[in-house]
C-alpha cells in the first residue's frame, strides 16, 4: 500500500544522475567565478547564489522534498526563516552600532582601510566627527 501510493512520482537513477551533473556544473561555475576576480560584493553575491541553487537541488531531489512535501517542507521553511532572522538581525545590529561598540580596527567605521594606515599602528581609533554639544532644555 505504502509502496504503491507514491511509486508513480518517485525519481529514478536517471533523474539522480542528472541532479548530480547539475551539482558538478554549478561547482565548476563557482570556482570559475572565483578565478575571474570580480569585486568582493559581486563575488559574495554570485558565490552565495550558486550555493543556494546547489542546496536547492540537494534538498528538493536528493532529500525528496519535491516528492513528499507537506509538513517536511514546513519544517525546512521554518528553519530557513529563523536562519534569515538570526543572520539578518545580528548583522543589522553590528551595522548600526556606535563605532566604539564594535571591536577596535573593525573596518566599516575606519576612514582608511587597515592596510593603508601609516606603519606604526595608531593607538587611538580614528576620531569621530565632532558632534555639536547637546543643550538640555
Amino acid at each position: 500500500m505504502a509502496a504503491t501510493s507514491h511509486a508513480h512520482k518517485e525519481f529514478g537513477p536517471a533523474q539522480y544522475l542528472a541532479v548530480w551533473v547539475g551539482l558538478l556544473v554549478l561547482t565548476a561555475l563557482t570556482v570559475a567565478v572565483w578565478k575571474m576576480h570580480f569585486s568582493l560584493g559581486t563575488r559574495v553575491t554570485l558565490a552565495l547564489t550558486i550555493a543556494t541553487f546547489k542546496a536547492g537541488l540537494v534538498a528538493l531531489f536528493f532529500m525528496h522534498l519535491w516528492e513528499h512535501g507537506g509538513v517536511t517542507r514546513l519544517v525546512m521553511a521554518t528553519s530557513l526563516l529563523f536562519l534569515v532572522l538570526l543572520i539578518g538581525l545580528v548583522l543589522a545590529d553590528n551595522a548600526t552600532r556606535f563605532q566604539y561598540a564594535n571591536p577596535p580596527y573593525s573596518e566599516p567605521w575606519l576612514q582608511v582601510p587597515y592596510q593603508q594606515m601609516a606603519p606604526p599602528m595608531q593607538d587611538q581609533p580614528p576620531p569621530l566627527e565632532a558632534a555639536p554639544p547637546q543643550r538640555r532644555p
Binding site: 518517485e10 558565490a47 546547489k54 536528493f62 525528496h64 507537506g70 538570526l86 571591536p103 580596527y105
Partner: protein, 214 residues
C-alpha cells in the same frame, strides 16, 4: 488494521498503517535536521559578523585556503550524496545487495573526504595558521586574520564530526540492509540515514565558497 500489521512485522502497534508510521518517522527526522540547521546557523552568523567587521583580514586569510583540496572535497561529497540517493532508491525496490554496495561506496567517500581534510589541517598546523592566540603564522597578520582561522577550524571541524557520525549511521544502516531487514514495504532507516548524509553535504556546499572562494 490487524491484517496489515500481521503482514508487516515492522509496524508499531500505535500506528494505523505503515504509511502513517513512515510519515511520522520522516517528520521526526526533519525536525532533528532543523535543529542541526539552526546549530550551524549560529556559526554562520558568527562568520557573517566577523566577515562584516574585518573584510580585509578575511579576504587575505582566505588566500591561504587550499582551493584545489576544497573543490575536490566538494566533488567527493556531492558524489557521495548521489550514491546515497541511489542506495535509498534501490532499498525501496527491495534490492538489498545494491543498497549495501552503494552505502559502502558512500562511506568510502566520507573517509576520502576526511583524509583530504586531514592533509589540509596538517598544512595549516605546520604553517601556524591556528585559532586565536595559537596563531603564529609569519606571512600574514592584521585584525580579523586569526578570527578567520578560528571560524575555519570550528566550522569545518564540527562539519567533519558530522561526517564521522554520518559514516557511523550509514554503517549501521548498511549492516541492517545486509542482514535483510529492509524490503519493498519497509526501508525507512535507509531514507532517514540518507537524509542526515545529505544535510552534511548541504552544509559543506555553503562552507566551501565561504572559506575558500571569498
Amino acid at each position: 488494521m490487524p491484517t496489515e500489521a500481521a503482514a508487516t512485522p515492522q509496524l508499531a502497534h500505535h500506528f494505523p498503517s505503515l504509511e502513517a508510521q513512515e510519515h511520522a518517522a520522516r517528520m521526526g527526522m526533519w525536525l532533528f535536521l532543523a535543529t542541526e540547521i539552526l546549530l550551524f546557523t549560529v556559526l554562520f552568523t558568527a562568520y557573517a559578523v566577523y566577515r562584516f567587521l574585518f573584510p580585509t583580514g578575511f579576504e587575505d586569510a582566505s588566500k591561504f585556503a587550499h582551493v584545489a583540496l576544497g573543490a575536490t572535497n566538494t566533488v567527493v561529497l556531492i558524489t557521495s550524496s548521489l550514491t546515497v540517493a541511489l542506495a535509498i532508491y534501490y532499498a525501496r525496490q527491495g534490492e538489498s545487495r545494491k543498497t549495501v554496495a552503494l552505502l559502502a561506496v558512500t562511506i568510502a567517500f566520507g573517509a576520502a573526504f576526511l583524509v583530504l581534510k586531514g592533509f589540509e589541517y596538517h598544512d595549516h598546523f605546520v604553517e601556524g595558521q591556528l585559532p586565536g592566540r595559537y596563531y603564529h603564522f609569519e606571512g600574514l597578520s592584521g585584525p580579523g586574520v586569526s578570527m578567520y582561522f578560528t571560524l575555519y577550524f570550528l566550522m569545518t571541524g564540527l562539519h567533519g564530526l558530522h561526517v564521522v557520525v554520518g559514516m557511523g549511521v550509514l554503517t549501521w544502516v548498511a549492516v541492517r540492509a545486509a542482514r535483510g531487514d529492509f524490503s519493498r514495504s519497509y526501508s525507512t532507516p535507509v531514507e532517514l540515514g540518507g537524509l542526515y548524509w545529505h544535510l552534511v553535504d548541504l552544509i559543506w556546499i555553503f562552507l566551501f565558497p565561504l572559506f575558500y572562494l571569498l
